[in-house]
Structures are given as structure tokens and as C-alpha cells.
């Protein structure tokens, strides 16, 4: 089943204009679906109400898993499975285990966090997320409104509001979404 959704796209030329537009439009009650920018705009997260990412916590958990795996690997192999006598030193020489434990901590944390990031953002080879205006990866800052969710305004009212907030152009786009 597929349905057609209509979007209003406000195109801005400057990131500071974009930020003030987000604030004023949200105050007027418009619901912004998303903003698309060519680079991370500072201050856009609180303006849009985006919560701080919890990816660093995920990285910590992955890192701790890495440490545990590394220490288990070294202890089980050298201390239990085949204890080796190296110059009469203890089998479980923890200071010698630090480098490998550290490296595996970093490896697990980095790969785990990046994997989580790609999954949670739906990014990956072959993934096709909607590009509302291709210029948003060049020099334009784009705000997208779902017309259905902003039905307290008519399309003309919303166009006027977006233009008044500093947009250089306003476009409409219909996208067929498959379910």
C-alpha cells in the first residue's frame, strides 16, 4: 500500500536566519518535520527540541565489553588453558595484559558506536533516505513541514509564515511512501 504525502519545503540561505526562523515558526505553532543542512549548525538541536544523543553511553558499554573480552581471553589462554613459564614469572602477568586490553577496548567502543549510529540513523550502503532538496548538501538550509500535521494552517498561510521567517524560496513536494 502506498500513500502520497505532501510537504512544504522552506529554503534558507543562511544558518543564522534558519535558527531564528525555527524559533519563530515553532512559537507560532508550526510543526517542523526536520531540518536539512550542509553542515552541523550549532544551536539547532535545542531549537528543534532534539535530545542529546546517547551514543557516548553506547560507546562506553561497548568499550567495557571489549575490556572484559580482552582480559578474559588473556587470562583464560595464558592462565588456565596453557600456562606458560616465561622466565619464571607469574602466568597471570596483568601488567603485560594492559596493552591488548586497551586496544580491544578502543576497537569495540569505536566499532560498536559507529554500528549503532548507522543503525539508529538508518544509514548504510544502499540506504536511500529522502532528499527533499539536493541543494541542502551544497549551500542551502532546508526546513520541511508535513502539511497533514500542520492542518491548523492552510498551505497559503504556512507559505506566508515561512517566507516571513526569512526563507528565500518555498516549494511543495509530494512523496509517495510505500508501506
Amino acid at each position: 500500500m502506498s500513500e502520497v504525502k505532501s510537504y512544504l519545503i522552506g529554503v534558507y540561505d543562511d544558518d543564522d536566519v534558519l535558527l531564528s526562523a525555527i524559533k519563530s515558526l515553532r512559537e507560532k505553532g508550526a510543526k517542523i518535520l526536520d531540518a536539512f543542512t550542509p553542515f552541523p549548525v550549532h544551536g539547532i538541536d535545542p531549537a528543534l527540541g532534539i535530545k542529546r544523543s546517547r551514543l557516548p553511553q553506547a560507546a562506553f558499554i561497548f568499550g567495557a565489553t571489549g575490556t572484559t573480552c580482552a582480559i578474559s581471553l588473556q587470562t583464560l589462554t595464558l592462565g588456565w588453558d596453557w600456562p606458560m613459564n616465561i622466565g619464571g614469572k607469574p602466568h597471570l602477568a596483568f601488567p603485560s595484559f594492559i596493552p591488548v586490553s586497551f586496544e580491544l577496548t578502543v576497537l569495540f567502543a569505536a566499532l560498536g558506536m559507529v554500528g549503532t549510529f548507522l543503525l539508529s540513523s538508518g544509514l548504510g550502503p544502499g540506504s536511500k533516505k529522502t532528499v527533499f532538496d539536493p541543494r541542502s548538501s551544497d549551500d542551502k538550509f532546508v526546513l520541511v513541514f508535513d502539511l497533514e500535521k500542520n492542518n491548523q494552517f492552510t498551505a497559503d498561510q504556512l507559505t506566508e509564515m515561512v517566507k516571513a521567517s526569512g526563507a528565500s524560496e518555498v516549494n511543495f513536494k509530494d512523496i509517495v511512501e510505500k508501506h
Binding site: D34, P38, F102, E103, V106, A110, S121, L123, K129, P134
Partner: protein, 471 residues
């Protein structure tokens, strides 16, 4: 609203707009390869061809084709390995440590420097494989258990730590670099005019569309990766130095090695970044992005790390005498005055004396002088590793086994192979991927550009305050 600082030099010249940045940096990706690129690529492929022949002979015949003897068992192979790994470190330093220190000048050079890291680590890895003698048994270095022998690997050995450190370093560097590339690949995809490049860059861009939520996560990931890479890069060269420091060979058994190796790595890496970037900015006409101010900043890092390396050389010499250990003392006297005196003095001249020229402002702002000195520094750092490895080994405790090492054509050919590999990969990168991180440069344009291009807005006074407070 743009703010031009009266104190700092602008990082991006030529009154660029955001669209100019995209056009300037995508130009060489989208256009046909230039004549100079084709010539350089052909030469690198030729060098790689000769190198692959030498590597194949080394694999099939064995390490006997090298100039090694019973006394000197490590020579050019490990010298080249440590040299390439060291070069790689500058890329991580620029992308991770300078990110944490909020050095904005890194944005123009980090992409190419990270690519250099990856290619340099590959070159280094080629020497690890080669020096094993039987590279098809390389998996024996992994903890694979009893079916591959009778024992596990020895986790007390720095050589095993090396396996973990370098493979982790390579993996994390590739991931860090690729994550940074995704938004720029999306830019190229969105601009692509033909189907093939839209498809290929589309797959490579992972579907990126620059939504605010994705940028928020992207920034969190970049920051944590930088935080992870910083201790990682320090650990890698520390562990490389453990390969020597944990042995009992006079000249190797020193506690100064880890910091001294890390400083040397950054020193040589920045020199290689400069060599490459000075050519790249000229060939791809990126003078407005990689400015004299960038070159000067890198030269300052070179002066600092070069001086640390110089102090380390002198400290080593002093401690060798002060320790009262006869063998240690002899190892150092022999370095400076023995049969390899020329390599010691080449190292001293190139690494300690020549970078001091950068104290003079006109020298560190001169592109010609920087280019020449960057090559001299890399020659010096190669000699440093050669001096540490070969002069320590060739005369140790037993005078009857003292020997002299002379390289053969295959030592030289295998080294040439790594250059062929490095330049081939770097040239492919510079043609098919954006050499400058467009998204990051765009993000610093307002605070670091040289003109005011922003539009005055009702609330712009608050953003001026914000931008000013960032300085």
C-alpha cells in the same frame, strides 16, 4: 553574519561562499583527470610494478635476498615499518587531537592527512608481513589456539601487542575517516550529473541526507571517536617502541623510548603531510583553503616535536654515560663514531639542526623552504630508525659476532614498493574523493573567512556575540 578577527589570520581566503567551497573541492572529483595527475599516476604504477616484482622475489625466494646476516636480523624492514607507522600518526593527530583542542585550521587538512594515515599504515603492514619470511602464516600471530600449533600466542610479548595495536589503529582510522566522508559523498551524489557516479557515490554516501538529528549523532560520534583515537595513537607508537625497549639490546633498553617515539612520529608525519599538501594545493588550486597560515601552524608543530626529538637524542646519550653501563655507553659512542657514523650524523643534521630554521618567521612561511625541509625531516626520521635498529644490533655483547649490514637491491626494491603503493593510493584518493572536508570547512567559514558575506538579521547581534566569544 560573519565576524573577521583582527587578531587571527583568516583560514579561508578569496571571499568564498558556501557554494564556492562545494564547487572548488568537487571540481577535481567531477572533472577529467588532469595531465599532471595522469603522469604522476603512471609513474606511481611503474614504481609499484617494480616494487611488486621485488616483493614477489622476496616472498618466493625468502629473506636471504635481503642484506641481513646472523648479527643484524632486523634492518630496512623494521626501519621502514616504524617510519611508515610514524608518518601515519600525523593524520590521527590532526583529526583527533586537534579536534579536541578545537583547532579550526585542522579542517582544511584533516581529510587528506587521515587518508595519508591509512595508506601509511598499509605500507607499514606490508613490511610486517614481509619480514615474517613466511607471510602465508601471518595468522599465527593471532590468538587462534591449539589447532594452529600447540600454544596460544604469548600475551607478554610486545610483538603480539603490536598485532593488536596496529590492526586496531588501522580499523579505527578507516572508520573515523569514512564517517567523516559520508556527508561529502552525499554532496557529490546530489551534484552528480551522470547515472554511474550518482549510483556509486549514492551507495558510498550511505543514504545521508543531512537531517538535523543525523548531524547531532554524527557530531557525537566524531567527538567520541576523536576521544578514542587520541590515546590510541599514543598507544600505537608506544607499543612499537616496546618492541625495542623491552629487549636487553644496548641502545634499545631505555625507558625514554615511548614519548621519544611518539614525538618522532608526529614530527615525521607532519613533514609528510606538508610534502603532500604543498603539492596537492598547487595541483588542485586549493591555495585559498590550505593557506600560508596552515603551513605555518604545521611548521610550528614540526619545530616543537623536532626539538623534543633533539632533547631525546641528547638525553639518551647522557644517560648511556651516566648509567655507568659499559655496553650502553659503547653503543652510543659507536653510533656517533663507529662504522655507521654517517647515518647518525645524517639523523642529527636532518632532525635536530634543520627544523630549528623554522624559528625564523620568513622560513616557516616560505613554501619552498617548507617543502625542502619537510623532505629533509623525513629523510632524517628514516635514518633515526635505521640508527636505532642497525647500529644497536651490529655490535652488541659479543665482539666475535660483530658485523656490518649492507642493503641489497631487494631491500631497496621492497622500500620502493611501499612508495609505489602509497602514491598510487593517495593519487586515487585525491582524484575520486574530496581532498578537503567540505562540511567542516563550511562550518568554520563564518568565523574564519576573510570577508563579511552574511545577511544582517534581526537577531544577528546575539550571534555576533557568540562568534566573538568563540575566539
Amino acid at each position: 553574519m560573519n565576524v573577521t578577527s583582527s587578531v587571527r589570520e583568516p583560514l579561508i581566503l578569496g571571499g568564498k561562499t558556501l557554494a564556492d567551497i562545494t564547487n572548488d573541492i568537487c571540481r577535481q572529483v567531477e572533472g577529467r583527470p588532469s595531465k599532471s595527475w595522469i603522469i604522476a599516476f603512471t609513474l606511481s604504477l611503474l614504481l609499484l610494478g617494480v616494487g611488486i616484482y621485488c616483493v614477489m622475489v622476496t616472498w618466493f625466494v625468502g629473506l636471504g635476498v635481503w642484506g641481513l646476516n646472523k648479527t643484524v636480523g632486523w634492518a630496512w624492514d623494521i626501519t621502514n615499518f616504524v617510519w611508515w607507522i610514524g608518518i601515519g600518526h600525523a593524520g590521527t593527530l590532526i583529526s583527533a587531537i586537534l579536534l579536541l583542542f578545537r583547532q579550526k585550521w585542522r579542517t582544511s587538512i584533516n581529510r587528506a592527512a587521515e587518508a595519508m594515515t591509512i595508506f601509511a599504515v598499509l605500507c607499514a603492514a606490508s613490511f610486517i608481513l614481509l619480514h615474517m619470511g613466511r607471510p602465508w602464516l601471518a595468522h599465527w600471530a593471532l590468538p587462534l589456539g591449539n589447532t594452529y600449533g600447540t600454544l596460544w600466542v604469548n600475551f607478554n610479548s610486545p610483538l603480539v601487542w603490536d598485532v593488536f595495536a596496529i590492526s586496531t589503529y588501522f580499523t579505527v582510522s578507516v572508520v573515523f575517516w569514512y564517517i567523516g566522508l559520508i556527508p561529502d559523498l552525499a554532496t557529490i551524489r546530489d551534484r552528480a550529473t551522470n547515472k554511474v557516479s550518482r549510483l556509486i557515490y549514492g551507495i558510498m554516501a550511505f543514504g545521508w541526507n543531512g537531517s538535523a538529528k543525523d548531524w547531532s549523532r554524527f557530531e557525537a560520534v566524531s567527538l567520541v571517536l576523536a576521544g578514542l583515537s587520541t590515546p590510541l595513537v599514543l598507544s600505537v607508537h608506544t607499543i612499537v617502541s616496546f618492541d625495542f625497549a623491552t629487549s636487553l639490546v644496548p641502545g634499545w633498553h631505555t625507558t625514554i623510548f615511548p614519548p621519544y617515539f611518539v614525538a618522532g612520529a608526529i614530527f615525521s608525519g607532519f613533514a609528510m603531510v606538508l610534502t603532500l599538501m604543498l603539492i596537492t594545493r598547487k595541483v588542485f588550486k586549493l591555495e585559498d583553503y590550505i593557506t600560508v597560515a596552515h603551513v605555518e601552524s604545521m611548521n610550528k608543530v614540526i619545530t616543537l616535536t623536532g626539538s623534543i626529538v633533539g632533547i631525546a637524542y641528547i638525553t639518551e646519550f647522557f644517560i648511556a654515560w651516566y648509567s655507568g653501563v659499559e655496553y650502553e655507553g659503547y653503543a652510543f659512542i659507536n653510533r656517533a663514531t663507529g662504522p655507521y657514523w654517517w647515518s647518525y650524523w645524517a639523523m642529527m643534521t636532518c632532525n635536530v639542526i634543520s627544523p630549528q630554521l623554522f624559528w625564523i618567521r620568513s622560513v616557516r612561511r616560505s613554501l619552498v623552504a617548507t617543502f625542502v625541509l619537510s623532505i629533509i625531516v623525513n629523510i632524517g626520521m628514516w635514518f633515526e630508525r635505521f640508527v636505532i635498529i642497525v647500529t644497536s644490533l651490529h655490535r652488541d655483547y659479543l665482539p666475535s659476532s660483530w658485523a656490518y649490514f649492507t642493503p641489497t637491491w631487494f631491500d631497496i626494491g621492497d622500500y620502493a614498493n611501499s612508495f609505489g603503493l602509497f602514491f598510487t593510493l593517495f593519487l586515487l584518493f585525491s582524484k575520486f574523493l574530496p581532498v578537503i572536508n567540505m562540511a567542516e570547512v563550511k562550518a568554520v567559514l563564518k568565523s574564519s573567512g576573510d570577508v563579511q558575506t552574511g545577511q544582517a538579521q534581526p537577531n544577528s547581534s546575539s550571534s555576533v556575540k557568540q562568534s566573538v566569544s568563540q575566539h
